[in-house]
């Protein structure tokens, strides 16, 4: 039994943690939160790119470091702990993974080296309306090499140089109609307008497409299948970010409960708070273990991935939502002030739990994949 990260991976974690403590403190997170003009921390982005984090799991032949998905999981947890305001998830967990899995060799050569070096940013545009994206609410249409439609919300769309767009490639709207297309940010038919989000350190926008030139990614009509696969892969990485943030929420709740005195003692000595923090710990440990299983499935290309990813995703979303919410509760009045940091986690946890589909959707994914496995 070796259900743990290796010593090298732990070393990477320690280095990443130290680096982010230094270069991504709360002040720099707040500088993005409080500045409407900035979508992400560009200095931080160029530094983590220089360190090679953006190329961690991209093969060497396409400009990456060629390490594995486990190393990327390690980095994800640290980015989550630090609340890093960067487009890392959109560009690396999603855009790069789409290219790695479905790009032609030519496409990989064209895009991946720029993504690996961090000099270009990619993202993915799926949703068009309230609620779960599905065939009857995807209206964006592909015809004769051009895309028309509107996507909303698109994470990191304003920062992106390339966007993968999901669009119908025939006149039907069913599970075999969807295809994926890569577009360039500089296309004159593209109109991007910023949207406010519940966590402004993780921005989103509306992308309007009018006769936008595009190239197809993967097979025509297999869009939903590719999306399922890539979002499963991304879900594991997101779950590590979430576990990281949840752990810091608990650590900060604990720290405050030991500093704050009421009724003549540390508030952390009251059972009501001790038990609450014990519950936070339990949820986080279960989430961490589920995330580890996801990491194993991801790194070994196991058939278990859809189940492991959904389990990791649900568990981590719930743990982080709970930990960040109860962190505010334990802080009492100051917990809901702008000055204290609790809201940074409260914002981030909810945003992350929605970013690649809600808890509700992932629970549904989990059960339907368990049903499928049972039939097989």
């Amino acid at each position: 039994m070796n259900f743990d990260f290796s010593d090298d991976q732990k070393l990477l974690r320690d280095q990443a943690r130290k680096f982010l403590q230094d270069k991504c403190d709360r002040k720099s997170v707040r500088s993005i939160l409080e500045d409407n003009q900035k979508n992400y921390d560009a200095d931080l982005w160029s530094q983590i790119s220089e360190l090679g984090w953006t190329g961690t799991a991209i093969p060497e032949e396409y400009g990456g470091l060629g390490l594995g998905m486990l190393e990327l999981c390690v980095i994800a947890e640290e980015l989550g702990r630090a609340l890093a305001p960067t487009p890392f998830s959109s560009s690396i967990y999603i855009f790069a993974e789409f290219l790695k899995s479905y790009g032609t060799d030519e496409q990989k050569k064209k895009y991946l080296p720029h993504i690996a070096s961090g000099e270009k940013i990619g993202t993915f545009a799926l949703s068009e309306t309230n609620g779960k994206p599905k065939p009857n609410n995807i209206k964006t249409q592909h015809a004769s090499g051009k895309l028309n439609g509107s996507k909303n919300p698109v994470s990191d769309g304003e920062s992106a140089d390339y966007i993968i767009v999901a669009a119908n490639s025939d006149s039907n709207s069913n599970y075999n109609s969807l295809s994926l297309f890569i577009i360039d940010r500089n296309d004159p038919g593209l109109n991007i307008s910023n949207l406010d989000t519940i966590d402004p350190t993780r921005p989103a926008c509306t992308v309007d497409l009018k006769n936008v030139a595009c190239e197809r990614l993967g097979d025509e009509g297999s869009g939903w299948e590719m999306i399922d696969n890539i979002l499963n892969r991304a879900a594991v990485l997101f779950s590590f970010e979430q576990v990281g943030g949840a752990q810091v929420s608990l650590d900060e709740a604990k720290k405050y409960s030991l500093e704050r005195f009421a009724f003549g003692k540390q508030i952390g000595a009251f059972q009501a708070l001790k038990h609450k923090m014990a519950d936070m710990y339990v949820k986080i440990e279960l989430a961490r273990s589920n995330a580890y299983y996801g990491a194993w499935a991801l790194s070994t290309d196991s058939n278990e991935l859809p189940i492991a990813a959904a389990g990791a995703r649900v568990s981590a979303s719930e743990a982080y939502n709970y930990a960040s919410q109860e962190n505010i509760q334990i802080h009492g009045g100051v917990g809901f002030t702008w000055e204290y940091d609790c809201h940074l986690f409260y914002r981030r946890s909810k945003l992350l739990s929605l970013n690649i589909g809600s808890i509700r959707q992932w629970k549904e994914n989990l059960i339907s994949n368990l049903e499928k496995r049972n039939i097989v």
Binding site: F3, H275, A278, L366
Partner: protein
């Protein structure tokens, strides 16, 4: 990251497998799953499964003893014990591997777990050489069964609040009082007991630890019928029970220290989490009709089941992490407390929700109930006990808060006063 054994572990597993294959009957995977109301699922209980009638109980005990004998002959009965006392001299990971493998077979080791897991190690640490020589070998072979006489009506979560009197009379001690929740007291040959030898001393200082022959005059064990209908525990009454001072373990007044050795040896939580779980309600949901068709297709049911799945698998993978630590020679800490805390509540939620799904037929609690033979009805009752036995939810949360998270201990008013001056609500 992988789930493979190290070469030594694989070698050990092979040995265990060939022993089990040659000597025991394998469960089919389906029959292995629902364990329902089995006393052996409580972490510190180890009592036999519910049996009807004394004959059935005797047969079960005889079978278990026969199995224990075989295990002892093969060297697997006490994997963590040193060889000099008949143990295997093995490592915690080997213990886990054995338990994993044995879990797939129809055998009962529950009767012996308290002795081998907790009481034997206490005797090794604190007992006299002649006692070790006399008792430990028969504990391993199952010839003599031991029970643990700790809890009392007024000493549950607050275990050091023990009131059982131990009064010295020459070379003898006279025990008077009552113990409770004693697994197996009705068939045990010997017991280990903590009693109050000095009520004027501080609470944790006035206790002394002994072993007793359960056939000593004045000891009477009465089974306690639980809400589940089964009786895995006893109350044990001590009426002027006279034992020689030579049956004392540790010094007079050191009873709490000795007890801690016993409690620290609570067996490692191994094997599958016990009882009702996601798998059972998932299966049942394919048979039960709700307002819009089969329950498994109902969105609310699916959402709930997903919660139980992540808890269930989260615990399983947490165990893999603990095993990894064990495999590297590290000791998993009190973080293992989360297992029972989560399992018991999950079982209560699952069974209560399943009864709800069954609608009116959920009321029926008899063997003919078509849905998985009463599994959820039994679980409904058993889970309520499980949230209390072996550490209540509240005690476990305190353990996590204090020992894992390092939060302050509860403020206590019972540490500075002599025991007989403590408020008890009875004075």
């Amino acid at each position: 990251m992988d789930f493979n054994d190290t070469p030594q572990e694989a070698e050990f597993r092979k040995k265990v497998r060939s022993f089990l294959e040659a000597n025991a009957e394998k469960r089919s995977t389906l029959a292995a799953k629902p364990k329902g109301d089995s006393g052996s699922s409580i972490s510190s209980a180890g009592a036999p499964e519910t049996v009807k009638g004394e004959d059935a109980a005797k047969v079960a005990l005889d079978n278990a003893k026969e199995w224990q004998r075989k295990k002892a002959d093969a060297g697997f009965a006490a994997i963590l014990w040193p060889k000099e006392f008949g143990g295997y001299g093995g490592t915690p990971i080997e213990q886990v591997i054995y338990a994993q493998e044995e879990h797939d077979y129809f055998v009962h080791s529950g009767y012996f777990e308290i002795g081998i897991g907790m009481l034997g190690p206490t005797m090794m640490a604190w007992g006299k050489d002649e006692d070790k020589k006399r008792f430990l070998p028969k504990m391993i072979t199952g010839e003599e069964i031991w029970c643990q006489l700790f809890s009392e009506p007024s000493a549950g979560s607050d275990l050091a609040g023990i009131r059982m009197k131990a009064e010295k009379d020459g070379d003898e001690w006279v025990l008077n009082g009552q113990k409770v929740w004693t697994s197996g007291a009705h068939f045990a040959d010997y017991g280990m007991i903590v009693a109050r030898s000095d009520p004027t001393a501080l609470k944790h200082k006035g206790l002394t630890y002994f072993y007793v022959d359960m056939k000593t005059p004045g000891i009477e064990a009465k089974p306690i019928k639980q809400i589940s209908g089964s009786a895995n525990f006893n109350e044990v009454f001590f009426n002027d029970v006279r034992i020689p001072d030579s049956q004392r373990i540790g010094a007079e007044g050191d009873g709490w220290k000795v007890s801690l050795t016993t409690l620290m040896n609570e067996r490692l939580a191994v094997g599958d989490p016990p009882g009702l779980d996601f798998d059972q309600i998932f299966e049942a949901s394919k048979e039960i009709e709700v307002e819009d068709g089969l329950a498994v297709k109902n969105s609310e049911v699916r959402q709930k089941m997903a919660d139980w799945y992540i808890q269930s698998r989260g615990l399983q993978y947490t165990k893999y992490r603990s095993m990894t630590a064990l495999s590297k020679g590290q000791t998993p800490g009190p973080e293992l407390s989360i297992s029972k805390l989560v399992t018991a509540s999950k079982m209560q939620d699952v069974s209560s929700y399943a009864l709800d799904l069954m609608d009116m037929s959920g009321m029926v609690h008899q063997d003919q109930n078509p849905i998985l033979k009463n599994l959820f009805q039994n679980g409904y009752f058993f889970s309520a006990a499980m949230r209390i036995a072996g550490g209540t939810d509240e005690v476990l949360r305190n353990i996590i808060a204090e020992r894992v998270l390092g939060l302050p201990q509860d403020e206590r008013s019972d540490k500075k006063l002599p025991f007989n001056e403590l408020p008890s609500g009875k004075n």
